[in-house]
């Protein structure tokens, strides 16, 4: 019944009813939101907030500003073309004396040293040798005498660049870039330019593991989807048991299997295939094998779901229309598994990108992925800006891939391709 068909006495009650319904619906929505809210607030505090904080640290740059406030202020108007004026030198001298007294000089020295190797020595030697505030007009001469580095433009541009309050320094460093003395973005010096290599390695290992998972997972998913339910449920245990077994147990198991006196080497030796034990662990091979083992169930399960949804009638129809088995498989079956391949592949790839524990335990120095460096800079060297910048790049890659994954899985739900 439409609203226009209501006439006479009914029309009088219609408006209030509509309004009442709307109000009831609004109350329901508020209640629904109230139920979700505790989790949203909780995640804001335990997840989103901390990650936002980390992202902020990637651009936060207030250490030098806090330790050398007058210098940073004096350099604000400096064009960077020639050496700064006497005023900047005087400000630096007075800042150094104050920072030495308050103990903040080490923090500034550490930050400046990231940008210019050797800056720590410049600053600490100056702090040690500067006895008192120089006479007016002699600051440039005094500082230049203590350390000739103060007569160089690079020293001063470094301070100006690190003056904050925000910086692109760490993000540039995470991409092997830096700013030269004129402020242009250039390639970082070779001894610091390691991160593109690390990102490339992370990408390659993840891609290799994803391909391995697909090659190994496809036949298994096909078998499980084709067998009668009783038998496939039984075989599913072989997929679910490793899935539920602790990551540490599985990693440890691979060390036991692949070490030089391990089961694999012993068996190969016993079979007479090798004389010397092969090096199977603490290298790229070990990382790929262990990661494939850990991530394989994440490939098999989505593939299985998508294959389970393919009606056998399609293959029968193809056969009855005269398609040879291989053609039917390639033209009819395989295209229908593509969403499953995409979902499983993306899931494995996303999970592999952020891997830390497995490469840390079974990889060599040249097999460490990006997460290892993030952890290293956070806990060992406390270069939090760089750790956060590397984290920001990894997070960005993960989010982009997760968005593609979301679209893919959503599309499948619309077409009914994936039931879980």
């Amino acid at each position: 019944m439409t609203a226009t068909s209501l006439t006479g006495a009914n029309a009088l009650t219609e408006v209030p009813l509509k309004r009442r319904l709307r109000r009831a619906e609004r109350t329901r929505q508020v209640k629904a939101l109230a139920l979700v809210l505790p989790l949203l607030v909780f995640l804001l505090f335990t997840f989103a907030g901390p990650i936002a904080g980390m992202l902020w640290r990637a651009i936060d740059d207030r250490e030098v500003r806090q330790a050398l406030p007058q210098t940073v202020a004096a350099l604000a108007s400096w064009d960077g073309k020639d050496l700064p004026d006497e005023k900047a030198y005087a400000a630096l001298a007075s800042d150094i004396l104050a920072a030495r007294a308050s103990g903040t000089i080490a923090i500034a020295a550490k930050r400046l040293n990231y940008a210019l190797n050797g800056f720590r020595t410049i600053l600490t030697s100056t702090a040690r040798n500067l006895k008192a505030v120089p006479e007016p007009g002699t600051a440039r001469e005094t500082l230049g005498k203590i350390n000739p580095a103060w007569r160089e433009r690079t020293t001063w541009t470094t301070i100006k660049d690190a003056g904050g309050p925000v910086t692109g320094f760490y993000l540039l460093a995470a991409l092997d870039l830096t700013r030269n003395v004129d402020g242009a973005i250039v390639a970082a010096p070779p001894d610091q330019a390691i991160y593109r290599d690390v990102f490339g390695r992370t990408f390659l290992i993840s891609l290799g593991v994803t391909v391995l998972c697909l090659l190994l997972g496809f036949p298994v998913a096909y078998l499980l989807a084709t067998l009668p339910p009783g038998r496939s449920n039984l075989l599913m245990i072989f997929v679910l048991l490793p899935f539920w077994t602790s990551l540490l147990v599985r990693t440890c198991a691979w060390i036991v299997l692949l070490q030089s006196k391990g089961v694999v080497n012993d068996s190969l030796h016993w079979l007479g295939i090798i004389d010397e034990p092969l090096r199977l662990i603490y290298n790229r091979f070990g990382v790929c094998v262990a990661m494939t083992h850990v991530l394989l169930p994440f490939m098999i399960l989505p593939l299985y779901s998508s294959m389970k949804a393919i009606s056998p009638a399609y293959m029968r129809a193809a056969a009855s229309l005269g398609a040879p088995p291989l053609t039917a498989f390639l033209r009819i079956y395989l295209p229908q598994t593509l969403p499953g391949i995409g979902a499983g592949g993306l899931l494995v790839f996303i999970l592999a990108l952020g891997y830390y524990i497995t490469p840390a335990l079974v990889g060599g120095a040249a097999d460490q992925m990006i997460s290892y460096f993030i952890a290293l800079y956070t806990t060992e060297t406390a270069n939090w800006g760089l750790a956060s910048a590397l984290g920001a790049v990894l997070l960005l890659a993960t989010i982009l891939l997760a968005l593609v994954y979301g679209k893919l899985v959503q599309g499948q739900q619309v077409t009914g391709g994936m039931k879980n």
Binding site: Q29, F42, F45, G49, A52, R57, P219, P228, S246
Partner: protein, 276 residues
């Protein structure tokens, strides 16, 4: 069966045989490492190699009598149970709310709630390390419980949400029309129906916390080390067979969780089957 019967041509039979052979090899690849580590825990020797020189329970004895290992087991239990309970409450409420909520922000809210599963562990750990240190939550049980709850709750939201999809909302309306208060309707009608979802979510949550090691690496003090954290050190420093005893204990917990989940799933299917 029907598919096997339709395999008439030789090439189809070869392809099917190849599928079986490859799958068998993959199953061996998946299971063999876990099986290979088990017997080492009852070895009488101190090396992680075969053949075993003899059988003994000395490594289990070592585990039980080591305050470090026992403390880590206790910590894993405390943190696992506490974060499971917390994530059950938060996740069930959120799933109930999300099922009723109609808004264009809903996909965004859902993506946000599920994102802790996708974001790399190291990123969450580093963020929490910076965030919790100034407020004294690093090196504390509370900090670890909160962090693990954030990681575990998505699984409760997913499992409860899946149960709610097949849930007939008319049942809640019927309860209300029969005079049940919202709380009564929840306790007597909704909760019993979604309980399997809550229970499997809880199992996932516990498994997540019980297996988590990256956040523990960053945030736990020596007092809060969990079993996986202790294993991490053990593997790094020197692999003693005590680790294999710990591995057997961890795997036993996994098997119990998996078996419970499978039991829940079967029971659910049976109930669905009988109602249809």
């Amino acid at each position: 069966m029907s598919d096997n019967a339709s395999l008439r041509t030789p090439s189809q039979r070869i392809a099917w045989t190849a599928t079986i052979v490859i799958s068998t090899l993959v199953f061996i690849f998946l299971i063999a490492p876990i099986l290979a580590i088990m017997p080492l825990s009852v070895s009488s020797g101190s090396y992680l190699t075969y053949p075993l020189p003899g059988l003994s329970l000395r490594w289990y004895d070592d585990f039980i009598n080591s305050p470090r290992w026992m403390n880590s087991l206790k910590n894993s239990m405390i943190i696992g149970v506490a974060s499971t309970l917390l994530s059950m409450v938060l996740g069930t409420l959120a799933a109930l709310g999300l099922a009723q909520w109609k808004s264009r922000f809903k996909p965004l809210a859902l993506a946000f709630v599920l994102s802790p599963v996708v974001v790399p562990g190291v990123i969450t750990a580093v963020g929490l390390y910076f965030f919790f240190a100034p407020i004294g939550l690093t090196g504390s049980y509370l900090g670890l419980i909160l962090a693990h709850t954030a990681l575990a709750t998505p699984f409760v939201v997913i499992t409860v949400g899946a149960t709610l999809q097949s849930f007939d909302t008319n049942l809640a309306r019927a309860a209300a029309s029969l005079g049940a208060s919202p709380l009564q309707a929840f306790r007597r009608v909704i909760l019993p129906l979604i309980l399997p979802g809550v229970a499997s979510g809880a199992l996932f949550a516990f498994a997540t916390s019980f297996d988590e090691v990256v956040i523990v690496l960053f945030m736990a003090g020596p007092e809060q080390r969990t079993l996986p954290r202790e294993m991490f050190s053990g593997i790094r420093e020197n692999i003693s067979p005590t680790i294999t005893a710990a591995a057997v204990i961890l795997t036993t917990v996994s098997v119990i969780l998996l078996a419970t989940l499978e039991g829940l799933r079967r029971r659910n299917e049976r109930l669905k089957g009988s109602s249809a």
